[in-house]
């Protein structure tokens, strides 16, 4: 009996607890349809093709004259900026007294495969800006772009600087050659022409593959282990499910837009070299001469800081601020850090210029 091995009873206890949590999980988990991701009340004020312009209902009296338009990314949907009342980017800005608009790019279908950068920059974004200018009787708006939405917003701001009073670039995709992420490596070796010619729009399934190669073990295993361990924590489960629902819902990207994206940004890196064309117009980043605020996350594994930062140095603005935060791509916009630090700093900067 001397050789009998002993097992820490806590290990057995942990295994039993974990098994119980897995079995009981369905009791605590809502079905995806039961989770409402549109937290803050808003109205759809303009609809062009599949895109919608959302106007959020003010929470306090509007303190700042210049309205803010958010150009969300092309991957996943704008809901992450309003994912939960306590972590809502939009709600925080409303509480700070800003008038907030959001551009929802919608869900392109096969028919939209010829939509390109020009349609997004000089069509949808320009129409949204014109609508806001008309409604608010102002000549200029403040524009914020997030991730790939910031690339579109950057192109717009360079082409129409007269319409933009302040520009905020949050994790912008700018310098494809300097991007150190796995996504950029895949993009650099992609035959975008063949892809678009054969399948038209970039399907969500391909996006999901790209997500799966980003920290596959942390995101594919550890995240779910943590979820089952915290199944009794209502708040944790609610947050987890909201983000999961958001992650699992990405629209296709129009073929021509995707092709230009891959070739001009990742393969030939034209934007940062002031050689990229949108429609017939050349984008010159020096023409961005209004106050600019750049937000970068040091742990961003989707858009590396090296890819975003060159924008700060390439623009013509004299009044420009670069902020680097100790968080990730999503943490910068939907976390307690974003509520406590990122948004107050941005709000203060914007309020002084609005």
């Amino acid at each position: 009996m001397q050789n009998e091995s002993t097992v820490d009873p806590k290990i057995i206890e942990e295994i039993l607890k974990f098994s119980r949590n897995v079995i009981e999980a369905p009791k605590f988990v809502s079905a995806p349809d039961e989770i409402n991701l549109e937290v803050t009340p808003h109205k759809v004020v303009q609809q062009i093709d599949k895109t919608r312009l959302l106007h959020y209902k003010p929470i306090t009296s509007t303190k700042h004259k210049t309205p803010l338009l958010i150009s969300y990314a092309l991957i996943n949907r704008y809901h992450i900026l309003d994912i939960h009342p306590e972590k809502s980017w939009v709600r925080n800005l409303l509480e700070q007294g800003f008038e907030v608009y959001m551009l929802d790019w919608g869900t392109p279908t096969s028919m939209d495969k010829y939509l390109d950068f020009d349609d997004y920059v000089n069509g949808y974004l320009e129409s949204a800006v014109e609508y806001i200018k008309n409604q608010s009787s102002t000549e200029q708006i403040s524009l914020q772009g997030y991730c790939t939405g910031a690339t579109i917003a950057t192109a717009y701001t360079a082409l129409h600087p007269e319409n933009v009073k302040n520009y905020i670039a949050t994790a912008p995709v700018i310098d494809g050659w300097k991007d150190t992420t796995v996504i950029s490596n895949l993009a650099k070796h992609m035959d975008a022409d063949k892809m678009v010619e054969t399948i038209g729009n970039m399907p969500p399934e391909f996006m999901y593959y790209c997500f799966s190669v980003l920290k596959p073990f942390e995101q594919g295993i550890e995240k779910y282990v943590k979820f089952f361990k915290n199944i009794d924590d209502k708040k944790y489960v609610d947050n987890f499910l909201r983000v999961e629902k958001w992650l699992g819902d990405t629209p296709p990207i129009p073929g021509e837009l995707f092709k230009q994206w891959i070739k001009d940004i990742y393969q030939e890196n034209l934007l940062i070299q002031n050689k990229m064309h949108v429609g017939d117009e050349l984008i010159d980043l020096k023409k961005i001469d209004m106050p600019m605020f750049t937000q970068i996350a040091v742990g961003d594994h989707l858009v590396s800081p090296e890819c975003s930062m060159p924008l700060h140095y390439a623009v013509g603005s004299e009044d420009k601020t670069l902020k680097i935060y100790p968080t990730g791509h999503v943490g910068m916009i939907a976390s307690s850090l974003s509520q406590k630090k990122v948004l107050p700093e941005m709000g203060k900067w914007l309020a002084e210029r609005s």
Binding site: D8, K10, I11, E14, I48, D49, S110, M111, D112, K113, Y114, L115, D118, D119, N122, G123, E126, S127, E130, K133, N134, T180, T181, V182, N185, L186, K188, H189, M190, D191, K194, M195, T198, I199, V213, K215, P216, F217, E218, I221, E222, V225
Partner: protein
């Protein structure tokens, strides 16, 4: 299939059938050729994944104690496993050899899809339905018209706004 004796027997619509069968047969032959290339790249893809797995597991074995004795040790082993695997796989996904092979793999997959599309087009045309290319032409035309209308509408709005001042 479109040789003279066959053409002689293929009168009217059946002649088109013979021509279509030939097109489909050619596509199927090319699919088989592409499959060879596809198999080569997919084998390399899984080889890279399994080699990285093997190396990462060896690293974990060297760092972690053989049998975790308590909850804290299990947690520590798990952490080491995840960190090493994430690190090694990210290194792989970030490498030129993975990027190139993956690019070629997707490219071959697209070629297979293209042949499938070509077969579908032959069938669609045989029942008098528009091919993918013809539908694409319509989409292109609609896109171009919508673009022109949107630009004109936007210009009109701007002009109205200017005049209202």
């Amino acid at each position: 299939m479109s040789s003279k004796p066959q053409a002689l027997t293929s009168i009217g619509p059946m002649r088109a059938f013979a021509a279509n069968s030939k097109k489909i047969a050619v596509e199927l032959i090319e699919i088989n050729e592409n499959l060879l290339g596809f198999n080569q790249y997919i084998t390399e893809y899984y080889k890279q994944l399994s080699e990285t797995w093997g190396v990462a597991q060896k690293k974990v074995n060297q760092k972690a104690p053989k049998i975790p004795q308590d909850v804290e040790q299990i947690e520590a082993v798990k952490r080491i496993w995840i960190d090493i695997f994430d690190n090694d796989f990210t290194e792989l996904f970030d490498s030129k050899k993975f990027g190139e092979n993956y690019g070629n793999l997707v490219s071959k997959e697209l070629e297979l899809t293209k042949h499938w599309n070509n077969i579908t087009n032959v069938i669609l045309q045989s029942v008098n339905l528009p091919s993918k290319e013809e539908v694409d032409e319509v989409y292109k035309e609609i896109h171009s018209l919508k673009k022109r209308v949107s630009k004109l509408e936007l210009e009109l709005k701007k002009e109205k706004r200017k005049n209202a001042k």
